[in-house]
């Protein structure tokens, strides 16, 4: 009858109104909760029993998939850039602003000034002592910076380990949420809450790594990395991190597990497949990728650059350059030089003219045959050839001849002398010079070069390539020769009888620091386009500082850009998913009125029915 229809209409109206109020109160209560998606009740008219218009309220949760995907990608980039920025910022603080005390460039400038003062007054004890002290300060700065960089690497390992734990926990939670969501029987309110939880977890995970999220129709998600490795599909993969303990400069990443000195990050899929994330280059963005790039590339490069500085510094002090004597034989000109003092890692250099251009070849003595063949072009444009000297000078001559080809004639006339002649009549090459650069042995043996800076246990630094190479980690080991610290007259006296006013040794050091050019080694840190250092010691220091400052500035600006992008996206998300309290309040007023109206209708129907009953 009419009244009962009215009643049921009013009732359904009130019920829908109650649902709406429910939802509204939920929205208002969670207005500030992060990750909360605004819910609304959508009303569907359907014809019910007794031809009443029963209205069903269905809870809908706002969700925009494309925006969400966009946001996921942006969080990954933001995580990557912010972790890089924070670490590189600390690296540039290590290097220090130019001119401040404790920065490497002011330590070096102090050393040069002390050197100049000592060269002017070598007989003054105060000047010599000051020079030794500045040298120690410089070595100490290099040591400190090297150990700080290694501890930064250590920190990346610690953070990787922590992140892996967090990721695993979140994946477990997400797996559980997925399972619950797959069950369609849950009530919509709880369902919406679970989906909020699901989105929060996905957001956290996307900060750690770059994800590709597939949202299924039933609300579950499956996660994959952008490179295609599955992380979650019903069952979650487990991330594992095997720490490598303390990291030193020689702990580098290597695809060969036996040699690799850093921690191992792997993922174990539910099917039992284990994938090494670093070896297979699986991650390209997110915090994990950022930490790995820092540990294996950025910080390693910084360490290598410090090692380059330390090695050039040591070599500038200890290298004796012996020029060869000119030799003419028939129409060929050339030079010969004695190779007796060339130690492991030392080299001899010759320059020649070919086609009007001046070219340089550096031949290095390499005792560790596993490093051979060695033939590359260094940062100054010189060709570097490594040769095995164990067969004597004759074998060196033969090896060099085969490397150089017919434009030269290389021979071993006697003993340890090497002769390099141009091709005489043919005229394509013209020898310009030949000289050896050898590391001095001993501090007072008559040569002007001496090992002011030494390796551990006062060992000479010859830049040998044996094993991992003497240069690796040298910045952490460089120190001032103890003999010189004990007796600073050794700075001046290159023989036992040299007078204290003799300036030769100190002048030699000054001119070496001014003029001796060094070049970064090949492929210094694994990236093919790696920045290579070349020039005098001061140049190398400036280039390093500039590079690191640049890298830090770039990382910081990158992070700022990503953050801005993320901010813009967050704003969009807020406007899409967020709760506008004013809107809700307006709706509340309307619902209130509607509810009151429905209640009034019901009470009127009640009165009418009462009146009917009294008939």
């Amino acid at each position: 009858m009419g009244l009962s229809v009215t009643l049921s209409n009013a009732l359904s109206g009130m019920r829908v109104g109650q649902n709406a109020l429910d939802t509204l109160s939920n929205n208002v209560a969670n207005a500030g909760t992060p990750g909360y998606h605004r819910r609304s009740v959508s009303v569907i008219d359907s014809v019910g029993v007794n031809s009443t218009y029963a209205r069903e309220g269905q809870l809908t949760r706002t969700f925009n998939q494309s925006l969400q995907q966009h946001y996921t990608r942006a969080t990954a980039e933001s995580g990557f850039s912010s972790v890089k920025a924070s670490f590189l910022d600390r690296v540039q603080t290590l290097f220090g602003k130019p001119g401040t005390t404790g920065s490497i460039d002011s330590a070096y400038n102090g050393f040069e000034s002390a050197l100049a003062a000592a060269a002017t007054s070598p007989d003054s004890y105060a000047n010599r002592a000051d020079l030794v002290q500045k040298a120690q300060a410089l070595a100490g700065t290099l040591n400190r910076m090297s150990s700080d960089i290694q501890s930064l690497r250590q920190e990346t390992e610690a953070r990787l380990s922590n992140s892996v734990d967090t990721i695993n926990n979140q994946l477990q939670s997400l797996e559980k949420v997925n399972l619950r969501l797959a069950d369609q029987g849950i009530d919509p309110g709880s369902r919406a809450t679970l989906m909020d939880q699901r989105d929060r977890l996905v957001e956290s995970l996307s900060q750690q790594m770059d994800l590709r999220v597939s949202y299924r129709n039933d609300g579950t998600v499956s996660l994959m990395t952008r490179s295609g490795v599955g992380i979650l599909d019903v069952k979650a993969s487990v991330f594992q991190y095997e720490s490598a303990g303390a990291l030193s400069a020689s702990s580098r990443f290597s695809p060969d597990d036996a040699v690799s000195g850093v921690g191992k990050l792997t993922i174990m899929t539910p099917a039992g497949l284990e994938i090494d994330l670093v070896k297979q280059n699986v991650l390209s963005s997110g915090e994990l990728a950022g930490l790995i790039q820092l540990r294996d590339q950025s910080l390693v490069q910084a360490q290598d650059q410090l090692d380059e500085i330390a090695s050039s510094l040591a070599k500038a002090m200890s290298t004796n350059v012996t020029a060869g004597t000119q030799v003419t034989s028939g129409a060929s000109n050339g030079y010969e030089v004695d190779l007796a003092d060339v130690r492991n890692g030392n080299e001899f250099t010759f320059k020649y003219l070919q086609g009007g251009a001046e070219k340089t070849v550096r031949v290095m003595r390499v005792d560790d045959t596993s490093k051979l063949p060695l033939d590359y072009v260094d940062a100054n444009g010189a060709r570097v050839i490594g040769l095995d000297f164990s067969g004597g000078t004759a074998s060196v001559a033969a090896q060099l001849q085969s490397k150089l080809g017919t434009s030269f004639s290389v021979s071993n006339p006697s003993g340890t002398t090497l002769r390099v002649m141009d091709d005489g009549v043919a005229g394509t090459t013209d020898m310009l010079s030949l000289s050896t650069r050898t590391t001095a042995s001993g501090v007072q043996n008559g040569t002007l070069g001496f090992s002011l800076f030494v390796d551990t246990n006062n060992a000479d630094f010859t830049d040998s390539l044996d094993g991992v190479g003497q240069k690796l980690g040298f910045a952490g080991r460089i120190s001032v020769n103890q003999a010189v610290v004990n007796d600073n007259k050794l700075l001046v006296q290159y023989t036992g009888t040299t007078p204290l006013g003799d300036q030769d040794r100190l002048n030699q050091i000054v001119s070496n620091l001014d003029g001796m050019r060094f070049a970064g080694a090949q492929g210094a840190s694994g990236t093919t386009a790696s920045f290579r250092l070349g020039g005098t010691v001061a140049d190398i220091i400036s280039q390093t500082i500039n590079f690191q400052g640049n890298a830090a500035a770039a990382a910081i600006s990158d992070r700022d850009t990503q953050e801005m992008t993320l901010d813009a996206l967050t704003q969009r998300l807020d406007s899409e998913y967020g709760v506008d309290v004013d809107e809700e309040m307006a709706r509340l007023m309307e619902l209130q009125n509607a509810f009151a109206a429905n209640a009034r209708v019901m009470s009127v129907v009640q009165e009418l029915m009462d009146a009917l009953m009294q008939l």
Binding site: Q92, K97, A117, D123, P499, G501, Q548, G549, A553, D567
Partner: protein, 499 residues
Amino acid sequence: MTSVGKTMFPLANGIKNITAMKARYDQLQTQLATGDKASTLAEMGSDRYFDLALRQRMARMDGYQQSISTVNLRLEVLDTVMSRLDKIESDARAGAVSGGGTTGINFQTTPTLAASRFDEVMTLLNTDIAGRYMFGGNRTDSKPVSTPSDLMNGVGARAGFKQVVGERKLADLGADHLGRLSVSTATDTVTLGEQSTVFGMKLSGVNTTSANIAVTAPGGGPPPALTVQFGTPLPAAGDKVQVSFTLPDGTEEQIVLTATTGTPGVGEFQIGADADTTAASFGTALTSSVKHLAETKMVSASAYAAAGNFFNGQGQQVMRVDGPPFDSATGLIAGTTANTMLWYNGEDSADPRNTVTARVGEGTTVGYGVQANESGFLNLIQTLAAVAVQDFPDSDPTSEERYTSMMSRNAARLADTKDNQPGSLAAITVELGLAQSTTGAVAERHTAHSAQLGNMLEQIEAAPTETIAMEILALKTRLEASYQTTALLSQLSLVNYMR
């Protein structure tokens, strides 16, 4: 990390901007306070490399300026010493008057003056600045010259100059005081020959005004000899025979013997009845003349020669007479530290100026080393020392002639014409002056360049106060407006208006 917000009521965008503005405001305040545009390496931006290069150049220039001030100090001291030495030399030259003066007073005063000047020169050569000796080349930690009294008198078994002079005197004179020459008369020929020794007088020539005397120039041997032969007709009265000698110090002297018919006086020989007697008379006159020459002029020359031996120059060794016995000694031997005082203990280099160098600019090096055994000092020392050891007692008849010959030699040795030789006092003074002017010019360049670099550095690094102040003002306005609007907006909520 802050990229994904997990906090309740994460910051609305409007508030984030306010926070960013406030941070910028703080940054501007720091800039204003410190005066630096950038507070970290990363903030320096593309100016970084330039900044590094500038700082390095400025540090280097500071180093050069310090070197220059050290070098200037040393050059000034050297200059003072050199002018004092120059004064001593000119005083000594002015004092080289011949003649004993009234009552022979000069005979007493001249050697004493020479000795005190010698002492002063040696003391000046031992000048040091804060323990760094200036006149020993690069041997700056020990005294370049020995103490004057030790040098003169010797110490223990080590012979001093006086002893060396005495030995040389004996060697040059010979036992018979003939200056290591021998006169022999045979019938009509008188032969004057040297002995095979480096000491004594050497024959350099002979000539005669008479056609009746046959003279042969020194030759033959070794050792060389000259002959004077008389024949008929006998020489006429007034005919002269002149014999020239080279003395041990390289100077030349002559003896002239005149023929006379009567009794021969000093420097004369009698024309006898025949050639033989004439020759005999000639021989006797020659002998006494040579003896006189030896005991007077040659003794002076011998003192200078001994000075040359004892005060050795660059690249030379200390030499003394090989003996005893000294009067028949034939050669010199090198003195050793055991038996002779070595006067110079500093560095002996062929290029004294470059023994001590200082780098005062990129590619500019000044050399200001001085060695006490350079020719200027050496000459002065030898001359003074030779006079200082002399003795001119009134009772000695040779005193006056010795004195005169000594003073004339003095004047010749200390003459101004020697100034154009390398290593002379004037030459050294000029070279040091050149070094000083170089450092002065370089210092000026450095000051100007430093100022320039400082300006450039300030342009890069310094925060321009006016711009910052303006920016702070603008930011303050924006911040205030944002605060105001945020406060207003927070009031505008429907909740506030519902009953």
